[in-house]
Symmetry: C2
Subunit: 223 residues, 2 copies
DNA sequence: ATTCAAAAGATTGTAAACAATCAAAGAGAA
DNA sequence: TTCTCTTTGATTGTTTACAATCTTTTGAAT
């Protein structure tokens, strides 16, 4: 679960390594030797081991006993499983948000989208997810769901893996305009207190996102 | 994520401690000092620290920096969040199983229930979940979903926490007969290849389970 | 040239000692 | 008595050293 604790040394090391993995500075499959990292961060192997375990929990690093850690390589099967779980958790979050959100909360969600609209229209195929806009939207819904477990699973396990996936298949383009439109419909359902509809729209939204990504990953194998 | 690795020492320590926590031999809130555990297992503090981190990832142990680990105390809010996530993941699993399961797989699922029926009828209020029968049913659906991430989340994070919850609120009784009947309807939907129906029935099944548990936890506060 | 085996090198797993932080006990004053 | 400050004790965080395992290299035999 990784509640939070984690000796302060390991914590900052985790953050740094996560950024380097997600940004592609550390390539997929690359070995993460404990001694090498210990020297790099001017620290002993203890905190390094703890940091690597934590990254493995987040799904960014893979282990082999007596062999060590490597930057995880995401297969297309991993990606499919990831999107299926994401659909389950986010549609549940949308459902709960529609049940529990106050009028004020819902209004805040809609305002967020109104502010994002001009930005998205300026970059129709922008990396919506990575840019923060998409993250904001889903983060707000996560908060409105009032379920800390869902929020933790999404932000500490699924989203990092999604970013890693994007990093490893670089030619993925966002669906900026379409996604924004789908967001608007979801926000509307939440603000009107319709859990079933909100959940269904969110599920469809994520399925569309996966369809788009899957197509790009497939064509990647050809070219 | 805790792929598997984990030095062999830590692995067995994790298993032992998990059993002791779930069985109630270690009470909730009890301190888990590193030195004490190191002596108990005749091992140094290194593997102990790794084991405790792993248990924290499973949600059985809570941390405070510079203070240490304790057996996690599950609040009613934790329980609610847990059941909401469980509903999301298991209904997704049922949905996927209905989409993907072969006729043979589905038949196997129904056979499982037929075999369990006489056992459940003999103990109508038995601890279905803990006894293995319920676990078997959900495990099979998990496998039929063909999604390793769902399976891992359920068996390494959610189910252990559910068992801990049961341990801390001891007067919970199962819904043996009703649950079995609901299982039969779910299995039927899966075998007939109806994802929407299977998902909906599973969601309802888990909601009923939660309603029953919530009522018992509430009455616990009174008596 | 290829394949297998054995030894050398490198890396992870574990143990033991040191440093830093926190919690509790005790003394003193209001 | 109660509150606060200080000190003491205990526990976690970190480092260093040792043991076990794996990977790679080297060599010979086919």
């Amino acid at each position: 679960m990784t509640i939070s604790g984690h000796g302060s040394a390991a914590k900052s090391i985790v953050d740094e390594l996560r950024n380097e993995i997600i940004s592609g500075h550390l390539q997929s499959g690359e070995r993460l030797g404990e001694m090498a990292l210990a020297e790099r961060f001017s620290v002993s192997r203890g905190p390094i081991r703890e940091a690597l375990r934590s990254l493995a929990d987040a799904g960014l690093v893979s282990f082999a006993p007596n062999v060590g850690a490597r930057v995880r390589r995401m297969t297309i099967e991993d990606a499919r499983a990831l999107y299926e779980v994401r659909a389950a958790l986010e549609s549940e979050a949308a459902r709960l948000a529609a049940s529990r959100a106050s009028k004020d909360d819902a209004r805040q969600l809609i305002d967020l989208l109104v502010n994002q609209e001009p930005v998205v229209r300026a970059h129709p195929h922008g990396a919506y997810l990575q840019g923060g806009g998409d993250t904001d939207f889903h983060a707000v819904i996560s908060r409105l769901s009032d379920n800390r477990l869902i929020t933790r699973l999404l932000f500490e396990e699924l989203y990092p893996q999604l970013l890693l996936l994007r990093q490893q298949h670089q030619n993925v383009r966002g669906r900026g305009v379409e996604a924004l439109h789908e967001h608007e419909r979801i926000a509307e359902a939440i603000s009107q207190g319709e859990p079933e509809l909100a959940g269904m729209l969110m599920r469809r939204h994520i399925r569309e996102s996966w369809t788009s990504l899957e197509r790009q990953m497939a064509s990647e194998g050809e070219g």
